[in-house]
């Protein structure tokens, strides 16, 4: 979706301001939001792609005014409500008012010690051979779905070169919406700065994205 999250190339946000000796969390609640998000994902009710789509569904004005963990909090609440796991009244009261729905899994402390609460790899066996090879010239398709995609706006419709074939992976555009993993070949595609930014490009810069095969078409 063309949301506020898709920021590459936007102007007006000012300088990058690194913080010296930055703590991992700036408040206790940030750590709790991270932990709640990972623990709920581990139940299998949804995956990381759906979590990203929930966050980018935050309306633009709100997205741009929230801190990062506030966006995570809003995304998590949205998913819990959509999946019928909690109600608005429960979120407001902090108390369970209806029986819990049985879930397939619950993340335990031992599992956290083992894999830090992260899901398994996105890598999958290839259902067919790769359409492109290193060195191929490709053009990204001009796609503007209302649904989840990992093709940023600033590279759509642009010509680039395949610099690496990265294997076959779960396709987020499908997986985010419960439509199955639909594994697709993944390529790192590099673009000259001038192809992306025209005469305003900085010299000697290239930008690459990791692009799934359905984002690409061959270029003569």
């Amino acid at each position: 979706m063309n949301g506020a999250h898709d920021m590459g190339g936007m102007h007006g946000f000012g300088p990058v301001t690194p913080e010296a000796d930055e703590p991992v969390f700036h408040a206790d609640w940030e750590g709790r939001v991270l932990a709640l998000d990972l623990a709920m994902r581990a139940t299998g009710e949804w995956n990381g792609d759906a979590a990203r789509f929930a966050r980018e569904s935050e309306p633009p004005a709100s997205y741009l005014s929230k801190s990062y963990y506030q966006i995570w909090l809003a995304g998590l609440e949205r998913l819990l409500l959509e999946h019928g796991l909690v109600s608005d009244a429960e979120l407001a009261s902090g108390r369970s008012l209806t029986p819990a729905r049985p879930l397939a899994r619950r993340l335990g402390a031992e599992a956290v010690a083992r894999d830090r609460g992260r899901a398994g790899t996105s890598r999958r066996d290839a259902p067919r051979s790769a359409r492109f090879a290193v060195g191929d010239r490709v053009r990204t398709r001009n796609l503007n779905p209302h649904t989840h995609t990992r093709l940023p706006r600033y590279v759509r419709g642009r010509a680039g070169s395949v610099v690496s074939v990265r294997g076959c992976h779960v396709f987020p555009d499908s997986s985010a919406h419960g439509h199955g993993e639909d594994p697709q070949w993944l390529y790192t595609v590099a673009f000259d700065g001038a192809e992306l930014w025209g005469p305003d490009a900085q010299r000697a810069t290239t930008v690459s994205v990791d692009a799934f095969e359905p984002y690409l078409e061959p270029l003569g």
């Binding site: 000012g14 609440e77 796991l85 900085q202 692009a211």
Partner: protein, 210 residues
């Protein structure tokens, strides 16, 4: 996104009775999820502790220092990053999708996630606020030299800058150039010079002590 919006933080010191609106919401959410049995409080505590104290840039720094001192490991790291990382105990999903990028006098690599905050948790821990902020996500791909100036990093005008936008589950680790004058340092001493930002491509390693 409010890049420096830390005005909604839990008050520190002697004002713990003042709860921010966000803090109240998070407490309510956690209470409901625990009461319903969806989450295990011990697992939540363990997650916070893991990401606050166990996982962090010291892991990546060890990998970089090993690459600086062990040419065979260095070649392996760039040829087959997941296998090389597994050999030093960095496995799991994110290790399996890692790609190491070599900085040279001719090429400076820099990593961003314009769409969200994809970051190599396995070797660097959780990302800093600036990495997730609008200014960095907006400018890294269009104005990388300006971003590097924000960090006080000078890259030669002749050097090519390669920006890697992490748009899939691949995770990138920049291996910076070894500082001059460090020939006599041990691997552990070298690891202490490797900064987090140097492994994102927005910094350089610390110089060797004179």
């Amino acid at each position: 996104m409010a890049s420096t919006a830390h005005d909604d933080h839990a008050p520190h010191g002697g004002h713990s009775s003042e709860l921010s609106e966000t803090q109240v919401r998070v407490r309510a959410l956690e209470s409901v999820l625990v009461e319903k049995g969806y989450v295990d409080p011990a697992a939540l505590d363990r997650l916070v502790e893991t990401y606050e104290t166990r996982v962090g840039p010291h892991i990546g720094a060890g990998v970089v220092a090993k690459a600086w001192t062990d040419p065979e490991f260095s070649r392996w790291l760039f040829d087959d990053t997941p296998a090389a990382l597994a050999s030093v105990g960095i496995a799991g999903a994110q290790g399996e999708n890692m790609v190491a990028l070599e900085n040279t006098p001719a090429v400076h690599n820099m990593v961003v996630c314009t769409l969200c905050s994809c970051y190599p948790w396995a070797v660097l821990g959780l990302p800093p606020v600036w990495y997730k902020s609008a200014p960095y996500r907006a400018r890294a791909v269009a104005d990388p030299r300006g971003v590097l100036r924000d960090f006080g990093v000078e890259v030669g005008a002749d050097a090519e800058i390669r920006v890697w936008d992490s748009t899939s589950e691949l995770r990138y680790l920049v291996v910076p150039m070894r500082p001059e004058g460090t020939e006599d340092l041990t691997e552990a001493e070298l690891a202490a010079l490797v900064t987090r930002d140097s492994m994102i491509g927005t910094g350089q390693p610390s110089p060797a002590a004179p």
